[in-house]
């Protein structure tokens, strides 16, 4: 489980997170929802140790995230960003295998794991010999997912993973991700500004605004009892109410 306590972070002199507290139990899928600048990506970057919080604490399974153990904790994280975050000069296969090689896995293990993951994300294996720019945005995202899942992490951190996709591909991938999350039973944190996506993929919605949690609820509760005017306007803007 992930425990976040009174987390504060300023960027460029501007306070982005104002003392955020949040608990995420094992196996839960949670959407960090909010408009641009709400602090959702900053929170995710603090979770994977790219940004160091000014104060407060993050714990993974009761172990506090610190500079000394950030590498160890990252081994339990799968991280996917918009457009997959693939390295353009490496083939898709090299992008995926990079992780196995860095973890000193042998060729046989790497090869069988890659095949297994390709079929999991429904990608034909041959396509992996192409470079990222030679495939579609949806295919890039699937490879990004393969890479994130390679070391079988306990937590999946996804930052607007479907943001750059056309509506149809997006819809298809949402369905596949939903099925995948159910099957893999991992703790998932999805950063998105898209209410529909959050509803499709996650059990729990945490709505952020200006660095504070304005509502932490299920989708149904959110729609039935918006906690304040901002939540109401956010829902209206996305035609949810």
């Amino acid at each position: 489980m992930i425990h976040i306590e009174n987390l504060k972070k300023s960027l460029g002199g501007k306070s982005v997170l104002h003392g955020l507290t949040l608990d995420i139990p094992v196996g839960q899928s949670l959407a960090l929802l909010g408009i641009s600048g709400s602090g959702k990506t900053t929170l995710l970057k603090c979770l994977c140790g790219i940004l160091k919080p000014d104060s407060g604490m993050i714990q993974f399974n009761s172990t506090e995230l610190k500079p000394e153990n950030v590498k160890k904790i990252r081994q339990t994280l799968g991280y996917v960003i918009q457009d997959g975050g693939l390295f353009p000069h490496l083939t898709l296969l090299e992008n995926v295998e990079l992780i196995g090689r860095e973890a000193n896995l042998n060729d046989g293990t790497i090869s069988s794991k890659t095949k297994e993951l390709a079929s999991l994300v429904k990608l034909p294996f041959e396509i992996l010999h192409r470079y990222p720019r030679q495939v579609s945005g949806g295919q890039r995202q699937r490879v990004g997912l393969m890479r994130a899942l390679f070391l079988d992490p306990s937590y999946l951190l996804l930052d607007e993973p479907l943001g750059a996709l056309d509506p149809i591909t997006r819809y298809e991938l949402q369905n596949e991700l939903k099925e995948l999350f159910g099957r893999l039973n991992k703790t998932v944190i999805l950063v998105t500004h898209d209410l529909t996506e959050a509803r499709r993929l996650c059990q729990r919605i945490v709505l952020l605004n200006n660095g504070v949690i304005v509502q932490d609820a299920t989708m149904q509760e959110l729609i039935q009892n918006p906690s304040n005017d901002f939540v109401r306007r956010f829902l209206q803007a996305q035609d949810a109410i």
Binding site: I50, G85, L98, E102, Y131, P132, R133
Partner: protein
């Protein structure tokens, strides 16, 4: 075993020929060739490092043992080297011996400085003596940089003759004649044995205050080789008078006869000895200069690449240290090549290395090649998108993997562009190697400027341009093969 040692010793002795140096003007080169051919004729292996620079470079090279002997002038020795007036020749000789340098008896001619103007102008304005320049304030003066700086040069002369002229143009001695003919300048500094005085119909103005000291031609040599030079020095004493020297200069400059042929003919006519010269074909000459040039470029680039890429990485990773590195390599780029070459002489001597030849040229080229590569390595790494950097971090890639597998390959197009710029600049800069005697395409260019011979200048300039173009194409080809196809789509 003893035989072997003896063999090795005799081989190494033979492998060390005497080295004659010459300054970068025709007379010095001809004298250098006369010395070289005479010594070879006597069975003493000798090399001639032609046109390796001005007085300071030659003197330092002689003192550090990079060369063994070179032709010099008594006035220059007093004014420039010892900076002391001597009462007579013996005192001069003694002062030099105290520094480990031997002085030959005068060769016979006095090549003093003079101020020269066109005969036509002299007639029109009735200027025959230096002081008569006083009343012609609008005349344009162009002097060699050496004459402008020397103690016995322009500044003292101006004081002595109370000349009002300002804004003197600093110009290469050989180029000055051409500028004079075209009417860009009116007054130049002359060497009194210059062949151009007759060729261009110039008048040497009378030095009626006896300002210029006597410039008796002599040979300076390192004392340890005195024994070997005995015969040569006695043969040359008083052998070349002013008329002979002007004639020799004329053959080389006006009739474009190669300096070694001029020297060989002189030896045949005056010393009665037949010496062999080896006239090389254009192809042989090109092969030689190309080999020398490529060696300078390739060796300096190899070490520059090896140094500059890691420096670029450090600059990208360590902000403060990086800023310092960038300032230093940028500053190096602003030092003029000639100044850098001269500045390298002393530190190199400290490490027991030669201040002329390949070493200073390679070091200078190496230093000049750093900035484009360091800069472009930095730019290439900085251009990697922030989100990919963060991804690499979260993927737990080690410093080495990140550098080897992600950062350098992604920065490669930029790094290669930097190397290409450095290489093309290096091919051009390497022509300056000829200034310190390391040959290359600069050698025919220097000689061409000295002899006013365009075909000789082109013999260096055209291959240098061609080489720069070939390097550029070669690199474009290499880029296609080295850069990941994923970056080019």
């Amino acid at each position: 075993m003893r035989l072997l040692v003896a063999l090795i010793i005799s081989f190494s002795v033979h492998a060390q020929p005497l080295v004659v140096g010459s300054k970068k003007f025709t007379e010095s080169v001809i004298l250098g060739e006369i010395i070289r051919l005479s010594l070879i004729h006597e069975g003493i292996p000798t090399e001639h490092h032609q046109e390796i620079g001005g007085t300071a470079i030659l003197w330092n090279a002689l003192k550090s043992g990079d060369i063994d002997l070179y032709p010099e002038y008594t006035g220059t020795i007093e004014e420039e080297l010892l900076k002391k007036k001597t009462k007579n020749f013996d005192e001069l000789k003694m002062l030099l011996r105290q520094q480990g340098i031997g002085l030959s008896a005068p060769i016979g001619f006095n090549n003093t400085y003079a101020l020269g103007i066109k005969a036509k102008l002299s007639k029109e304005k009735n200027i025959k003596k230096i002081y008569e320049l006083q009343s012609w304030r609008d005349l344009k003066f162009g002097f060699s940089s050496e004459f402008l700086e020397r103690k016995d040069g322009w500044h003292e002369l101006k004081e002595r003759y109370k000349l009002p002229h300002q804004n003197i143009l600093g110009i290469d001695h050989d180029v000055a004649y051409r500028a004079m003919i075209q009417g860009d300048i009116d007054v130049v500094d002359l060497y009194s044995t210059d062949a151009e005085i007759a060729y261009y119909d110039l008048v040497a103005l009378e030095d009626d205050l006896n300002y210029f000291p006597s410039y008796q031609a002599v040979i300076l040599y390192r004392l340890p080789i005195e024994e070997k030079l005995k015969s040569l020095l006695s043969i040359l004493t008083g052998k070349i008078n002013n008329e002979t020297m002007i004639e020799l200069n004329k053959r080389a400059k006006t009739y474009k006869v190669p300096a070694d042929l001029v020297a060989a003919d002189f030896i045949k006519q005056n010393l009665g000895a037949h010496v062999k010269t080896s006239q090389r074909s254009l192809f042989d000459r090109l092969a030689k200069t190309t080999t020398e040039h490529l060696r300078l470029v390739l060796v300096s680039m190899f070490f520059a690449i090896l140094t500059a890429i890691p420096l670029g990485v450090i600059v990208a990773k360590r902000r403060n240290l990086g800023r310092g590195i960038l300032i230093v390599v940028s500053a190096i780029q602003t030092v003029p090549a000639l100044a850098l070459l001269v500045m390298l002489i002393k530190p190199l001597a400290y490490f027991g290395l030669s201040g002329i030849g390949d070493t200073p040229a390679l070091i200078a080229l190496f230093l000049y090649s750093l900035l484009p590569i360091v800069r472009n390595t930095l730019t290439g790494i900085q251009q990697i998108p922030e989100n990919l950097r963060e991804t690499a971090e979260v993927l737990n890639l080690s410093f080495i993997t990140k550098l080897k597998k992600i950062e350098l390959p992604m920065a490669l197009p930029s790094i290669l562009a930097g190397i290409k710029i450095a290489l093309v600049l290096n091919v051009g800069f390497a022509t300056l190697g000829a200034l310190v005697g390391s040959g290359g395409y600069g050698q025919p260019i220097l000689s061409g400027i000295r002899l006013d011979d365009y075909s000789l200048i082109l013999e260096g300039a055209l291959p240098a341009t061609a080489l720069a173009l070939i390097c550029q194409w070669g690199f474009d080809w290499l880029e296609k093969r080295l850069v990941s196809p994923g970056l080019k789509l």
